[in-house]
Each structure stands twice: as C-alpha cells, then as structure tokens.
Assembly symmetry: C2
Homo-oligomer: 184 residues x 2
C-alpha cells in the first residue's frame, strides 16, 4: 500500500486543493474531512498521515487559495502601471464573477468570520494571506500601506455584503464600491 515520496507529496497537495475549494464553498465547519478525502480519491483514515489536525489543513488551504488568487491579481495588474494596475485589481476582485465563484476566490471573503475563530496557527497563516493581498495593492496605490489596507478592507467587505444580498442590491454594492475605489 505504501506510496512513493513523490506520490505522497502529490496526494498531500491534492487534499489541500480539494479542501481549499470545499472550505470556501460550504464553510470550514460544514465541510467534513471524510468529504475532502473522498473528493481527493482517498478514504478518511489516511488523513493524519498528511496533517496533524483539521486546523492545520485549514491553514494550508487558506494559504494555498490566497497564493493562487494573488497570482491572478498580479497578472491583471502587471499589464498596466500605477493607478491603472490598481484599477485592474479592483475590477477583478470587486466583480460579480468573483462574488459568484466563492470556491475559486479570496479565502478571507469566503470564510472570514470562521478564520477569525481559528487557532493561532490558522490566524497567523490567514494574516500572511491578507498581507499578500495588501502588498499587491500597496504597489499600485499612491499613499502606501495605509491606503492599501483601506482599499483591501473595502474590497473584502464588498464581496461579503454582495454574497449576502440578493439580485440588484448585491450588484449595486459592487458597483458603488468599485466606483469609489477607482476614485482613490
């Protein structure tokens, strides 16, 4: 039954990828390890060969998800320069497609209130995720970190609100926040 080191590393990454999607889609607490392992093509018993606990997986999944979306935002921004780079990031983040794709989007927006209750390890990992996002923005706005933090807060709040609200109200929130961020 034993797998090679390479296969084991692939398995571990597969578990993280599946978890990152499911945690964002259904919530951390609502997602069982049995579901995650099954989606990764395994039985649940083997989980603890790869992770110390569910909490550790949460931290890894959050980091993995954020790295992916930061890369996407960087791509969007890299084509433009300065303020236009910032607007490209806002365009991508504060959008209906991001709102409608929680399992492929920002982990802080998708599971923010659950991350706040995580253990220290999870919160440290999530904080680093947030810092990455702030950095992407800080590189493009004029007044450095302070303004970037403000913009990121508005971005996260906008997606959170828009995912709760229905139809027109939801879209209006995205439009309004985007409009004000563009004017920064």
């Amino acid at each position: 039954m034993r797998k090679s080191r390479v296969e084991a590393a692939e398995t571990r990454q597969r578990i993280i990828d599946v978890a990152a999607r499911k945690f964002r889609l259904d919530g951390i607490h609502a997602t069982g390890l049995t579901d995650v392992m099954a989606d990764a093509g395994l039985t649940h018993g083997g989980f603890y060969r790869h992770f110390e606990s569910k909490d550790r997986l949460v931290a890894q999944a959050c980091a993995s998800a954020m790295t992916a979306i930061v890369a996407t935002l960087e791509d969007s921004a890299a084509e433009k320069d300065g303020k236009d780079g910032f607007r490209a990031v806002v365009e991508r983040y504060v959008s209906a497609s991001h709102r409608d794709d929680p399992d492929g989007g920002c982990p802080v927006a998708a599971m923010g209130s659950e991350l706040a209750r995580g253990d220290e390890n999870t919160r440290v990992a999530a904080s680093e995720c947030i810092d990455e996002l702030i950095e992407v923005v800080a590189k493009r706005v004029g007044h450095g970190r302070s303004e970037a933090v403000f913009a990121v807060a508005a971005m996260i709040g906008a997606i959170t609100m828009s995912r709760i609200m229905l139809d027109d109200a939801s879209t209006q929130v995205l439009q309004y926040v985007k409009q004000h961020l563009d004017a920064i």
Copy 2:
C-alpha cells in the same frame, strides 16, 4: 406545564437573545440548539414550539442583533451633526472594543461568511440588517447611498480583517481604515 402567552413571548425573545450572542461568538454552524436552549433555561425539545427551524432562528437572531447595534450607533451619531455624526459611527464601529466584543457587535462582521450561505429567508433578513446600517451612515455622509455603501463595506472589512490578524497588525488595520473613513 403550559405557560401563559406573555411568558411564551418572553421565552421566545430569550431564545433569540441567547442565540444572537452565541452565533456571533462561536459561529452559526458551531452553535447547537441544545446549547442555546440550555442557556435560555430550557431543554432542547421545546425549541420547535417557537421556531420552524434553526435557519429561522438565525434570521431572527441576526435581525435582533443588528437592530441593537444600529440603535447604539444612532445614539452615538445623534449628538453630533453631519460629518461629525458619521465620524462618531466610525469611531464606534471601527474600534478595538468592537473587534474584541464579537457577541455584542455587528452580526455581519461576526458571521458574514456564514450568512452568505444561508437560505433565502436568512439572506433577506441579513440584507435588511445591512440596509439599516447603510441608512445610519447615509444620513451623515455627503454623497448619499453610494458613499454610505462604500463606507459600510470598509467598516465590515476592517473588523473582519482585524479579528483574523494578531496584535499590532490588527490594531493597525483599524487605525488605517478609521483614518481614511474620517477623511471622506
């Protein structure tokens, strides 16, 4: 065993109050109805005499919590006028004391990512909560609803971020966001 109508109404309110605190503190999914009922001084079997389902309680608890904090924010704002009223709201909402008091604070910040996954009934109730908050702000800022929505998004995002981050980074987020909101 039967209680009077007045007592039954008091019981129902007590369940809502307890639930509103526990949902905000521990999360919706992580809070069991047995715990809620026990804290309200009852056994869990009687729950369904008062609510159709847990989801219905979530909606009620969210509405109740938001009504309370909107009243608090209104109080803070009512003493000042115009922009100063807005700054008083920001001062209260974007604060370390709000961050450190999730079970007494804004339900959207405390359980936002879980509310987004609620049933339609829950999301409608939560949307109305958000609208109340937007209204409180809209009355005090210059450019109407558009700017109020932007400010509320930043406020919600700031508390969400600050509850994940640790120590200085957490406080810094609050300071930065407050500073930029004051400058609106």
